[in-house]
């Protein structure tokens, strides 16, 4: 019998226009174990379809470090979706 994958809770942050589209700055979400950042984004894109058009012009971070979309998430991780940066 396959082992039951445990669900994990992650914190999710939105910035810039993503914050405006989602209408929230942060969220807390339960995911199946082994979920990656891509699947987390897919979840929010299904909830807020306008996010989808920005997928190719976003980067993600995990625990305050830039992270590839296939990064596997762990309980307590803080994930952020980051539009192109424009400081200075």
């Amino acid at each position: 019998m396959p082992s039951v994958s445990q669900s994990i809770r992650v914190k999710v942050l939105f910035f810039g226009r993503l914050k405006e589209i989602a209408g929230l700055t942060q969220d807390s979400l339960d995911l199946p174990g082994e979920a990656d950042i891509e699947s987390l984004f897919t979840h929010y894109a299904s909830r807020y379809p306008d996010l989808l058009q920005y997928r190719s012009s976003l980067v993600a971070s995990c625990n305050q470090e830039f992270a590839p979309w296939n990064t596997i998430l762990h309980a307590g991780d803080e994930v952020a979706f980051l539009p192109p940066v424009s400081g200075g």
């Binding site: 942050l13 910035f15 810039g16 226009r17 012009s57 976003l58 980067v59 993600a60 971070s61 995990c62 625990n63 305050q64 470090e65 830039f66 992270a67 590839p68 296939n70 990064t71 596997i72 952020a80 980051l82 539009p83 192109p84 940066v85 424009s86 400081g87 200075g88």
Partner: protein, 160 residues
């Protein structure tokens, strides 16, 4: 990578105290200070700007600014660094970012200051919204480069 303990790295929500920062990096062993003072322009792409609003992923942005400052000491023979970015609403002419680098010789101070502002603009999670008479837009930005493998598990070591 921690910044040198004598550097100043800050995100602030009030006007940047430029004089204090400039004086802070100045030492008797230095012969030059190069300062980058970035401030709010009154136009953007032929539209008149009213004001700007900056927001940041503050925890990560400060860590990235500290990484840049630390890197300057490795790459350039410099003395001290002050790197400060302001957040919130800024009016025309107000300083949004201020970087001061001191060094014994000018070349290192110029090179380090240029590297610092260029890297900040490419990698630090800060966003600028421009307000015009007829609306507002998020400024075009740069997409940071992301390592291709998850950083936590990808400590690659040379074979030998």
């Amino acid at each position: 990578m921690a910044a040198s303990s004598t550097d100043i790295t800050l995100l602030v929500h009030k006007p940047i105290d430029r004089d204090t920062l400039g004086a802070y990096v100045r030492g008797d062993g230095d012969g030059a200070i190069v300062i980058f003072d970035g401030f709010v322009r009154d136009h953007s792409k032929n539209r008149r700007t009213l004001y700007l609003e900056y927001e940041a992923y503050e925890h990560m942005a400060l860590a990235k600014i500290q990484e840049i400052a630390a890197h300057l000491h490795i790459q350039f023979p410099i003395h001290r660094v002050a790197m400060v970015h302001r957040l919130g609403r800024l009016e025309i002419g107000e300083t949004s970012v201020y970087i001061a680098v001191s060094a014994a010789h000018r070349a290192a101070a110029f090179d380090a200051c240029r590297y610092a502002i260029d890297t900040l603009k490419r990698t630090v999670p800060i966003w600028k919204k421009e307000y015009f008479e007829d609306g507002s837009v998020w400024a075009d930005g740069e997409l940071p480069t992301v390592p291709s493998a998850p950083s936590a598990t990808s400590t690659v070591k040379p074979a030998s």
